[in-house]
Symmetry: C2
């Protein structure tokens, strides 16, 4: 058969890719098990993902050609079909499958914020309120959202302006959007779907302000879905990604709701308007932390893993230019510059994966303590998760974009899968706490620890290094000395220590010379962010290095992960060299050794590159990438996908056409040019 | 009138923005004139842009809501309406207006590659060929494209696989796509529009291969626009941006074209199949350089200027969180971390603007030399433009994305204008030469210069510093010493010198120890790229500092531009500190001084921030940003734009709806839930 009629289906793997898999230095399946958390976890994941992907209702085959409306409809359809599927398969709503289903659906799912609505009522409502609202929501008699962010207010919750004023004469709250900046903006599912919302508003009663509280407000009719009187609601419009989500806006003009619609588990307004607080809602603060912990593994790391899989496989298939004169064009993965782009990112995937597991374990420890009313470790957990969220979302987003660019022109096609990965994951730098704000929160904790240590106070484990001045300087005398976690961990520790110390000292001296505290803080904030980054970076390298210790019974895997850990650490020193050199811990000569060791690792790890991304174990359907398919037939994929583009059907004489081209078709070029010359 | 009924139209400027413009330290208009290149240039630009923008046919008002097909149609319409407009206004096709029109249309224009088709014929065709084809193309009797890039081949032209085999028996060429990787891929206007293409193909005659040559191939019928027999052609599908452009693919299966369709200005096949070369086509090489020179100013810098305008204005209006306890929420521009994100980018705009002017001037000098058959300066120009293209596209693309993220959640909405700016400008890192490849070309020139200097050869001006070892070390003893171009220029010079030197030394030692030349090159390529970056960075700082000298008669403007130049230079040292510290030219203590001086400049330049972006002089229609409008009514803009979203019309009971919501409307939620429960 002629090549232009062949499709990639049913063909052998591209030899350029199978040769990469010929003689693995380690057992790929065993590495997959480590990433999944165990053999059984791998089995379950494959079973669930497989069941989802083979169901044609969930097919994402034409995703890149769909409009926003079609994506929205598809997500709604997927949501309800998922429920049906779960019943069929006997999967529990609270079982381990749900995360895996989300993974398989790649975000094409609706009513996510309806679920937050449900959780908010469960967490913040009284037993009576839960009994009243939950069945309605769980049976989709009402569809909810969680309306917190406003046009003028995001990360800074105390600034929210929506008001809820108690009217004792009618026993109602008046919910109002007092000015434009108070317009609710961004809530998912609100644009088109929701009938109700949990609205966060400033509570006023008897002329006194009591801060943010949650209220249930109906926004659309249950009869015809039209906005209720006094409500202006709609979709906020197109975003950089999240095409399937109807993020919405909401203006409420003196809407009256019954007193019972204030979710009152932790505080209540009595009929006379007096305000009663009961118990501590500290544990709710935890929800935010939980979301950040979850984000690391699910959205952020997954995006980078997929991008690495796509770009590494493509780099083993794509041939370009000339390396050895006269030879065949080499795979682009042979170029040191390509290895430098991709291999540190593969290492980052493993580093972040181990870190996410570590953070998750720590989170559950703290959670048990808190359930026993012990809140001691909460500040450390908060600082850890804030810094890690900011650090990981930044490196993973930037990393996806590096992968995309490393695929050249084809990386710019939606078919590569890479543009969609980037435009989506980059949002994580902003939502759930803007990254700079989060780094400054972590920095505040670091400064507090550093200052405490000066006063002899004990420090929590993750910041214990701030009490020791750090010894001498780096001892390395040859490049190979840097292939030792002890050596580079000390360098990372000293870097973090010196940046925290220098920021603390600067603030202190500013205050001593008469600056107000808040100004001293602001004028040090660039350096504080650097300190938080260095701290998080250190913890990640440390976590990665510690994870190696658990692998003594799998020497092959330990060996390759050790190389990756070294690469991750040395790449960090190579690219942030200034921090390591500035205080003299690493010398210029030692940095040359780092460079040598680092570039040597690139060449070594190049051999394992494809296997290391194979271990992430994404199916072609999950990757949705013409460049990333397991069999490596990238050009056939691109051509096939282009040919199934519905737009191309239109070009053929049979299809429906746009105005200009139908002119071509019906009466030839002359008529087209008559149309054109109307203008020209 | 209630606030929710007010629009931004006709209102005074937001006081938060007008206060920024109250007491300018310099004349904004005069700065605009400098950027434009003169008073008359500013006047002309405003006249042209104004005329275009007030024409409703060109309106981009609903751009963010449009589908790819609508964007394509709109671009076709704009193209022909532009021609009409030019006639009306008396603007010449070759006049200075054309660039300005493109600026005003913001890329919504078609047939760009048809123009390349026209230029290729003019440049590469014989007089007879020009006389035959040009009138057809100029009158749109045929629509052309330029088909060079293939599925398997981009930057490396020699690898192209399409063949053109001369058949003396019929005096025809047989154009063929011998395998899938030879499929033409990416040409603009090919997807739906073109009838003809200039196809680049490997010429074979009498069994001998003669390399790449251009051929005119008809691809679609002039009767009904259907693909001709043997031709498979279509749109390559959705990309990260460029929605209005129909990039296409093309497969040619043994297509026969007349011998005369080979464009033969520089080489020809005689009837017996013998090949004749005439004259030098070196000057054509120049076209590529011209495109890169032009890119800097037009696509790349414009994107960053717009992004800075939007994000700086928004930062002067957006209020968030708490700085001084108890005070009103401050403008986010007051935060040092926000200044650190945006102000170095504003400085980058000015730096790149002066550099683009410098490169352009140099280009024209070399062009005159070349017309006199003097090719001596061509390698320097090539190295300069390759490095600058790579450097500038990278910093401008990354910069746009920093601006976008600095606008928080609203930066993620298409209404901010920022996502579209980014997804478009980032393509410039790949097209017209992939950046890493270009940096390596520049590095090759640098190594050659460095090696030549060792042998006592004279060096061209831009690399003259490679012959001098660079003196002592940095002399600065206090932060203020770094506010001196002489001081930081020497540091940049030494950085570039030491990186080139160390790469050259490494290669030399690898070769000495037995490595083949090509392996030594590949194993040094990460460091070579660093050297090229350092070289380009140095030239930009130097150009910026030199530009200050011409401003002695405008002391206020000179003062603010001096601060910007200092900021640009010190930000570079602060963020690439490792390069400056590694070889000891700058000490750790001096880096502290750099930090102090740099952060001090942020605070100073914060006062001028809005005026510095006002000077870029973009109209609201050009920015197409809810966040960036001159009057600063960002929240009104966002709400107005959301409300004019056609999707929202659908949600009201009157509009057309999608399946699920029309169920809501017609028979209430019950029916919706019946639909849903089919699945659930």
């Amino acid at each position: 058969m002629a090549w232009w009629k062949m499709s990639a289906a049913g063909r052998d793997t591209n030899p350029d890719l199978s040769s990469e898999r010929g003689s693995p230095s380690f057992n790929v399946e065993a590495l997959t098990n480590i990433l999944d958390g165990g053999v059984e976890e791998t089995r379950l994941r494959r079973a669930v993902v497989g069941a989802i992907l083979k169901d044609p209702v969930f097919s994402r085959e034409y995703l890149y050609f769909k409009t926003r409306s079609e994506r929205y409809e598809g997500a709604i359809r997927n949501t309800f079909h998922m429920k049906k599927k779960m019943k069929e398969m006997g999967w529990d709503e609270n079982g381990p499958e749900i995360e895996l289903i989300y993974r398989a659906l790649g975000g094409e799912i609706a009513l996510n914020i309806h679920n937050v609505f449900v959780k908010s009522i469960s967490a913040l409502g009284t037993d009576e309120q839960v009994a009243k609202w939950l069945p309605l929501a769980l049976n989709y008699k009402i569809l909810g959202t969680y309306a917190q962010t406003e046009l003028g207010h995001g990360t800074y919750l105390r600034g929210l302006e929506t008001t809820a004023t108690f009217d004792p004469s009618t026993q109602e709250f008046i919910i109002d959007t007092p000015q434009i900046t108070a317009t609710k903006w961004w809530p998912g599912d609100l644009g088109k779907t929701s009938t109700h919302a949990v609205v966060l508003a400033q509570l006023y009663s008897n002329g006194k302000k009591y801060g943010m509280h949650p209220f249930i407000v109906q926004v659309r009719s249950l009869e015809d879905h039209s906005p209720l009187p006094g409500i202006t609601v709609g979709d906020i419009g197109p975003k950089m990604s999240f095409e399937s989500i109807d993020n919405g806006f909401l203006i409420m003009r003196n809407i009256r709701i019954p007193k019972d619609n204030m979710l009152s588990r932790y505080s209540q307004v009595l009929p006379d308007g007096s305000y009663v607080k009961r118990g501590s809602d500290k544990i709710n603060y935890f929800t935010m932390i939980a979301v950040r912990v979850n984000m690391l593994q699910r959205e952020v790391l997954e995006a980078l893993m997929k991008a690495c899989t796509i770009s590494v496989r493509y780099s083993a298939v794509r041939r370009q230019s000339e390396l050895k004169p006269g030879d065949r064009e080499p795979k682009i993965l042979e170029y040191q510059t390509q290895q430098q782009k991709l291999l540190p990112l593969v290492a980052t995937c493993y580093a972040v994966s181990f870190t996410a597991k570590y953070v998750n374990t720590f989170y559950h420890e703290v959670y048990s303590e808190i359930k026993n009313e012990n809140f001691n470790t909460l500040p450390e957990l908060h600082a850890l998760t804030a810094g890690m969220k900011a650090f990981a979302t930044e490196v993973c987003s930037n990393g996806v974009e590096v992968c995309r660019k490393a695929c050249g022109g084809h990386g710019y096609s939606l078919y590569s899968g890479l543009p969609s990965l980037y435009t989506k994951v980059t949002a994580s730098c902003t939502y759930e706490g803007e990254n700079t704000v989060l780094h400054l929160q972590t920095a505040r904790f670091l400064i507090k620890c550093f200052t405490g240590a000066q006063l002899g106070q004990p420090l929590p484990a993750s910041t214990a290094y701030l009490s020791s001045p750090g010894a001498g300087g780096c001892k390395a005398v040859r490049p190979a000395d840097f292939l030792n976690p002890d050596v580079y961990l000390k360098a990372y520790e000293y870097r973090a220590y010196s940046l925290v110390k220098s920021a603390a000292n600067k603030m202190e001296s500013l205050v001593k010379s008469g600056a107000e505290q808040y100004l001293a803080w602001n004028n040090t904030s660039v350096e504080l962010v650097k300190a938080s980054i260095a701290h998080s970076h250190f913890l990640i390298v440390k976590t990665f290095a510690s994870a190696l210790n658990a692998l003594s019974d799998q020497p092959d895997i330990k060996a390759v992960l050790k190389r990756l850990c070294d690469l991750y650490a040395l790449h960090g020193i190579f690219t942030s060299a200034g921090d390591f050199l500035q205080h003299g811990y690493v010398s210029g000569k030692q940095l040359d050794m780092v460079t040598t060791a680092y570039l040597g690792l690139l060449a070594e790890l190049r051999k394992d590159a494809v296997l290391l991304v194979d271990a992430f174990d994404y199916t072609d359907e999950e990757l949705l990438s013409a460049l990333g398919s397991y069999d490596g037939h990238v050009y056939h994929n691109l051509l096939e996908w282009a040919q199934k583009n519905p737009e191309n059907k239109k070009v053929s004489p049979e299809g429906d056409g746009d105005r200009y081209l139908s002119a071509y078709r019906s009466t030839g070029l002359i008529v087209l040019l008559v149309n054109f010359s109307e203008c020209a």
